[in-house]
């Protein structure tokens, strides 16, 4: 019965890295679901100078595992690696449990979903002028413009973004000349489409308001964004 067997019954096993033997028997070009099971097995050592010999001494469970490695290059963990075995703090594990983003979005948008649901995702698409692909970010993952911009900078690492978000965490849109300076000096600035369908400069409203009204993000060239500035200043002034 399972659980009583302790002896693994393995002898010292010598395993080698080598190319699979034989000619190409993997004839199924279509890679269909049920391919011909004719894959070749590894046949002994190959005469490559970089062949790595591994000896795994597999002892019984009682004695604990003892792996003798015989490597050319050591693969010990060093300070440069993060230790994956350290248990993460609760609720800080990114993306766990595995719930499809489709499901997350649907549950978040339901009118009578449980109020206990602590994570309602706010995914918005992010495009960058010149980049051939779109990204998506969950605005709920960030609590300030600075954090969002840092994340965007990482995602689209080829652009530099300058933003002086000030003590309130917002760009000062009331000062038009300051704004123009900012736009002229930046390669790219983040802009967003709000609930009204207007394209605005990111940073014009308090963070929470932004999260609620942002429908999508676009990182555009500073020179183009200048066209948005007057409207941004206008809207800002009309709110004041």
């Amino acid at each position: 019965m399972l659980g009583t067997e302790r002896d693994l019954n393995y002898k010292e096993t010598e395993l080698c890295l080598g190319l699979p033997g034989g000619g190409g028997a993997a004839a199924a070009a279509a890679g269909g679901e049920n391919e011909v099971e004719s894959s070749p097995k590894t046949t002994g050592k190959r005469g490559y100078s970089e062949t790595v010999d591994l000896k795994l001494n597999l002892q019984s469970k009682e004695a604990g595992m003892d792996l003798n490695q015989n490597h050319e290059n050591g693969t010990k963990e060093t300070a440069c690696t993060k230790d994956p075995a350290k248990p993460p703090a609760k609720a800080q594990v990114l993306g766990w449990p595995p719930v499809r983003s489709y499901r997350k979005n649907i549950m978040a948008n339901q009118k009578n979903s449980s109020d206990e649901c602590t994570e309602k995702a706010a995914f918005v698409k992010v495009s960058m002028d010149g980049a051939p692909y779109l990204r998506k970010v969950d605005l709920k993952m960030y609590n300030s413009y600075q954090k969002l911009c840092d994340a965007l900078a990482k995602m689209f690492s080829s652009f530099t973004m300058e933003g002086n978000y000030g003590s309130q965490g917002m760009i000062d849109f009331m000062n038009e000349s300051k704004l123009m300076d900012l736009l002229n000096s930046s390669d790219y600035v983040p802009t967003y489409e709000d609930k009204d369908g207007d394209w605005m400069l990111v940073g014009d409203v308090p963070w929470e308001m932004f999260v609620n009204s942002c429908k999508r993000l676009r990182i555009m060239k500073g020179s183009e964004a200048i066209g948005l500035a007057p409207r941004a200043v206008e809207k800002c002034k009309s709110r004041a």
Binding site: L2, G32, E35, L54, T81, V99, Q110, K154
Partner: protein, 586 residues
């Protein structure tokens, strides 16, 4: 003396014989018997399944199979469903469409899963394939309702349009009006994923009314409850129906109209939808419940007492998808009402909450497994589990083929004994000899992988997270699981030794995904250099991996076999390890 065996049957006869051979495996076997069989077979293969769109190039496929009518392609790794694969990774279908437009003018069916589809692709499909019949976009993204409008307008023979769980830019419901008034051939329409509040109800109603062969109709949230009755009355032949919003103010006339409409649908076997459900309207479906074989309530916040009442009406149920509001009491009721149950999926209502919000434990699953003799497929989210429960499940349900358990807190031990759950999962693989798919969770040591390697000989797909102690775990799986095709691992201490020792195994599998594990960059390079038929892709959003020492582990690793060589559509955060890696600019 060697006798030369010649095939004396004429080609046409062989072709006719081959037309009865449907499975890819059998067709592949026939194609290697001799050269003439290879030739005949390749000219008459009509249906292709390509499990990884990067395993082969469109040109290679077209060169070998010139007369294909139906193609199915899968793109991104499975973990992309949970947003664990960065956007922009790949999976673009456009190159395939472009090639097929020229080579397969009579293509009838395209089925895609986890691929990026643009409006340009849809427009190409619409105008190029004159006999186009089936478009299934499962969990795809990148297109809008404008692309759908093109399909609607041009595909006169369209039978099936299924957008299941795709991420569509819904610009409003007017695309439905692009189906011409003369168009009547629709059999299956699934638009449940469309998120806009607008839909052209009149276009929808007219479409449903004139397509008398409609069997499957899954609506989106924009369709209000009080319109369902009208739609159902125009399509009483429906077999599979997905409601839109199932919420309205309580009005008796709306209710009785709805119940009457359901009553007239004598063929209805499958229901889904039920967004924003108002439980008082649930009894409207009672007239069809006795015949229902499939019920998807997994987006419906229905509490256990209402669920119990509903399930008592569904003795024929074979498939149930539900939220954990069902609780142990509801699963108990399920186990006494639904003897024919084959598949159960219980999803979490509050997956990221720390506190338990529902009374759902391992007991619910155990009671269903004990009582339902035909149960084969399980997906279960819960917060506690015990080895005893798993052993009970394994011993009583040896016919399980899919077992996916998600204990929501990583590394949770057996709550009764505080031991790892190795023995429990070990029992599952030992007793369920036909198990094809397994997802692990909870506290697990290398021992569970020893069991899996020893017993899970039919296992094709394994998902691992926060499990194992050393490379031995990975080694057991790769060396023992003979049928393994897909392995996906995250946050487990598996590294170089096991991967290098079992590198040949990787060519027998479709793919391997490892993220937040201990595979070093040096090993990735070595694998890439030594295994030309594997694409070894390193995914790292923090910068080029060669800016760090070789011994540093890579963030994410995706290895898949391919006869097409490395791909060239990678975003800047994906690097392919091959012989040229060191020579290319990073």
């Amino acid at each position: 003396m060697q006798k030369k065996m010649e095939c004396s049957l004429p080609d046409e006869v062989l072709e006719h014989v081959f037309s009865f051979i449907r499975s890819d495996k059998d067709r592949n076997a026939a194609s290697v018997v001799c050269k003439s069989w290879y030739e005949i077979e390749r000219w008459c293969r009509r249906r292709l399944f390509i499990g990884n769109c990067y395993a082969v190039s469109p040109r290679m496929v077209i060169r070998r199979f010139p007369e294909v009518r139906s193609i199915e392609l899968k793109g991104k790794p499975h973990f992309a469903d949970y947003n664990w694969v960065p956007d922009g990774w790949g999976g673009y279908v456009l190159p395939w469409i472009v090639e097929m437009v020229g080579a397969y003018p009579w293509l009838e069916e395209i089925r895609l899963k986890r691929m990026v589809v643009t409006d340009e692709c849809l427009e190409l499909i619409a105008k190029s394939f004159k006999n186009f019949k089936v478009l299934v976009l499962f969990s795809c993204e990148g297109f809008s309702t404008d692309g759908l409008a093109a399909i609607a307008a041009s595909c006169k023979n369209l039978r099936e349009l299924d957008l299941q769980e795709s991420d569509v830019d819904d610009l409003g419901g007017h695309w439905l009006s692009h189906f011409p008034e003369t168009y009547t051939s629709l059999v299956s329409l699934n638009i449940s994923c469309l998120g806009s509040d607008e839909v052209s109800l009149s276009a929808l109603e007219r479409l449903v009314g004139r397509c008398t062969n409609l069997r499957t109709l899954r609506l989106n949230r924009a369709v209000p409850l009080d319109k369902i009755a009208y739609i159902l009355r125009r399509a009483p032949q429906l077999v599979d129906f997905g409601t839109g919003t199932y919420s309205a103010d309580l009005q008796t006339d709306v209710f009785s109209s709805l119940a009457g409409a359901f009553y007239s649908c004598k063929e209805l076997r499958s229901l889904s939808g039920f967004w924003d459900v108002v439980p008082a309207y649930l009894p409207a479906i009672y007239p069809v419940c006795s015949r229902l074989t499939s019920l998807n309530l997994s987006y419906a916040a229905i509490q256990s007492p209402d669920l119990i009442k509903l399930l008592r009406h569904c003795p024929s149920l074979q498939r149930l998808l539900v939220l954990d509001y069902i609780e142990d009491s509801g699963l108990e009721a399920l186990s006494s009402s639904c003897m024919d149950l084959q598949e159960l999926r219980v999803f979490p209502s509050d997956p990221f909450g720390v506190e338990r919000n529902v009374s759902l434990t391992e007991q619910g699953l155990v009671s269903v497994c004990l009582a339902c003799p035909k149960l084969q497929s399980v997906l279960y989210f819960c917060r506690q589990m015990s080895n005893a429960a798993l052993v009970t499940i394994a011993q009583n349900r040896p016919n399980l083929t899919r077992f996916r358990l998600c204990i929501m807190e990583p590394r949770t031990a057996d709550y009764l004994t505080l031991e790892p759950l190795d023995v429990g999962f070990g029992a599952i693989v030992e007793h369920c000899k036909d198990l094809r798919r397994l997802s692990l969770s909870g506290l697990l040591t290398d021992r569970v992988f020893e069991y899996i390697g020893r017993y899970a000989k039919k296992l094709e797909m394994l998902s691992v997270a926060f499990a194992g102690e050393s490379d031995l775990g990975l080694h057991y799986v790769l060396s023992g699981c003979e049928s393994l095709r897909k392995l996906e691992v995250r946050d487990s201490p598996f590294g170089d030794k096991a991967l290098l020792a079992n590198s040949a195994k990787l060519e027998t599998m479709r793919s391997l995904w490892m993220s937040s594990c201990s595979v070093s960059f040096g090993t990735c390079k070595l694998l890439g250099q030594k295994m030309p038929r594997l694409n070894v892709e390193v995914i790292d959003e923090s910068g080029p991996p060669d800016s760090r020492p070789d011994i540093c582990p890579v963030d994410k690793l995706y290895i898949y076999r391919s006869v097409a060589g490395p791909r060239f559509d990678m975003p800047p955060f994906v690097w392919t390890m091959d012989e040229d890696y060191a020579l290319r600019d990073s």
